[in-house]
């Protein structure tokens, strides 16, 4: 593996390897001394063209726990905001000797361009690009699902066995909300499908992309039906951006009439929570709009694994950085990607 750009590039074995590695990383994070010397001397650049304190801190923590040097390169207050091109920024990072570039960019495909334009030799990790992909988010989601849901005994027993080496075969996952603009949804659909789970996207028709029919998942416009009929093992709520409610220009472009109607039809609240099987977990990539896509009751319920997702994010990103940077890159290049 040379880069991590899209979950669509990950074969089942690659994905499981990342999850297994993440499990070992997670085990080290309960120790008193959390820092490992593994990536000593390697330099990881967090190149963030879009504000995302959560994701940046998660990557920064992951890199530091592995003893890599971390350089945070934020678009704000840098030459990037003065019109420097992605290419020149990339050439600068190359000259600084970056071994990995973790890039967050508002333009879909920017990480792909960074990885393939010949500007940098570094491994490129996509930390979210436009409406395209956010592969480490999907991996941490899959990791969280595997931990809670794989190896459960029959009849909903709560004892979970060691999921190492396992995929998510047979799990039913509902992904609810703004699929159209969501890189989290795109990443999850591919990864969860690759890992054998059955995904149902739930959204108002305005927030489902044209062309979704080729995706390896089901699509529904009705949350209550999906919760009652598919009995999902996990329900993942997507964040609804405030600007989707008004649309651009002089109104009319809004994707739904108003927040109340959205919440009524697609929000996860106490009533809908009660429709779920006992073992079902509730997920959210954060940050949450409490009262819009998820009620406080749902967000704070014991089923919610939202805080754990954040912790797992560090372990998954440690695993990704380890797999991209620890080995001999020249030998790896002949292989994947």
């Amino acid at each position: 593996m040379k880069h991590l750009l899209s979950t669509a590039d990950l074969a089942r074995a690659d994905a499981i390897r990342i999850l297994d590695t993440a499990a070992q990383m997670a085990a080290t994070q309960s120790r008193e001394i959390k820092k490992l010397p593994t990536l000593r001397g390697r330099t990881v650049v967090n190149l963030f063209f879009e504000d995302s304190t959560r994701t940046r801190i998660s990557f920064e923590t992951a890199a530091k726990r592995l003893s890599a040097d971390v350089i945070n390169f934020s678009a704000k207050g840098s030459s990037v905001s003065k019109g420097e091109s992605l290419k020149d920024t990339a050439l600068t990072l190359q000259a600084m000797g970056a071994d990995a570039v973790v890039i967050r960019h508002q333009a879909s495909g920017a990480p792909h361009t960074l990885a393939h334009a010949g500007w940098v030799e570094a491994a490129v990790v996509n930390a979210g690009d436009g409406m395209h992909q956010h592969p480490t988010q999907a991996l941490l989601d899959a990791f969280t699902m595997r931990r809670h849901l794989v190896g459960r005994g029959a009849a909903g027993a709560s004892i979970v066995g060691d999921p190492t080496g396992q995929d998510l075969a047979g799990l039913r996952i509902a992904v609810v909300g703004d699929v159209l603009h969501s890189r989290v949804a795109r990443s999850n659909v591919h990864l969860l499908h690759t890992l054998g789970a059955q995904v149902t996207l739930v959204a108002p028709p305005t927030l489902v992309p044209v062309g979704v029919e080729t995706w390896p998942c089901d699509v529904s416009y009705h949350l209550d039906e999906v919760l009652a009929e598919t009995a999902p093992d996990a329900v993942m709520m997507l964040r609804v951006q405030r600007e989707r409610m008004s649309g651009s220009g002089a109104g009319g472009g809004a994707f739904f009439p108003n927040p109340l109607e959205y919440t009524r039809n697609y929000g996860l609240d106490g009533r809908r929570l009660a429709l779920l099987p006992d073992h079902t977990i509730v997920m959210h990539p954060g940050p949450m709009n409490r009262g819009l896509e998820i009620s406080a009751e749902a967000a704070d319920s014991p089923r919610a694994v939202i805080v754990e997702q954040v912790a797992n994010g560090v372990a998954v990103r440690m695993a990704v950085l380890y797999l991209l940077l620890a080995g001999d890159a020249s030998k790896e290049r002949a292989g994947l990607e």
């Binding site: 390897r17 080290t28 490992l36 010397p37 292989g335």
Partner: protein, 220 residues
């Protein structure tokens, strides 16, 4: 099926007696068992008992060796429960040669419930070679606790140390040249029946010329 030259595979499958491969069996099943028993006695002797001892196997083959030693300690020291004194220590993330190889899979680290603080940790590995694995293991131990002492047990010491590290317990000293390859075969880790002959695998320490089809050499 043919019993001629072995087909290369990822596991040691050669017939030891086949001289065409230049593979020699240095220790057989019985010798390995005897060596482990002797080491177990030495551990008890040296530490005046085994109740403060924790055996940490280094994956892959150090782990079953540590478990076998724990069983032997239990026969010497009545009341000792093997599972309470044995664990495994993955050193991958502490290695200094990661960038020289394709990415290594990280193994598990499991400690006995009582931990290692204040204990005598005996590291267990199959082949002691350059000493770099043990150096990594010492770093790993210092991140997970503070033992009273750390000792080292190896089934085979083949020499060629690159660091000031020496074993406290050795199954067999095996002078080798750098062009030779030492591999250890254990039923726990290499136990699937031989592909070519269908015969069950037995414990053995093998020596051969590089390069060979075996993969279980103690890592440098």
């Amino acid at each position: 099926m043919s019993s001629g030259p072995a087909v290369p595979s990822s596991e040691p499958t050669v017939t030891p007696e086949d001289p065409s491969d230049g593979v020699t069996t240095v220790l057989g099943e019985a010798e390995i068992a005897r060596a482990l028993t002797r080491i177990a006695h030495e551990v008890v002797e040296r530490n005046k008992g085994a109740h403060d001892v924790v055996l940490l196997g280094i994956p892959t083959r150090g782990v079953p060796l540590a478990e076998r030693l724990a069983e032997r300690l239990a026969t010497i020291e009545p009341g000792l429960v093997p599972a309470d004194v044995v664990g495994e220590l993955d050193v991958t993330m502490y290695r200094d040669d990661l960038h020289r190889h394709p990415v290594r899979t990280i193994g598990a680290t499991r400690l006995p419930a009582s931990g290692i603080d204040g204990k005598v940790v005996v590291l267990v590995d199959d082949v002691l070679f350059s000493g770099r694995t043990i150096r990594a293991a010492l770093d790993a131990i210092s991140d997970i606790g503070r033992p009273r002492a750390v000792q080292l047990a190896a089934l085979v010491d083949r020499g060629h140390r690159e660091l000031p590290i020496r074993p406290d317990y050795v199954g067999k000293n095996l002078p080798t040249s750098l062009s030779e390859r030492v591999s250890v075969r254990l039923v726990e880790t290499d136990g699937s029946p031989d592909d070519a002959t269908g015969e069950p695998v037995t414990d053995a320490v093998l020596i051969s010329q590089r390069p060979t089809s075996t993969s279980s050499e103690g890592t440098r």
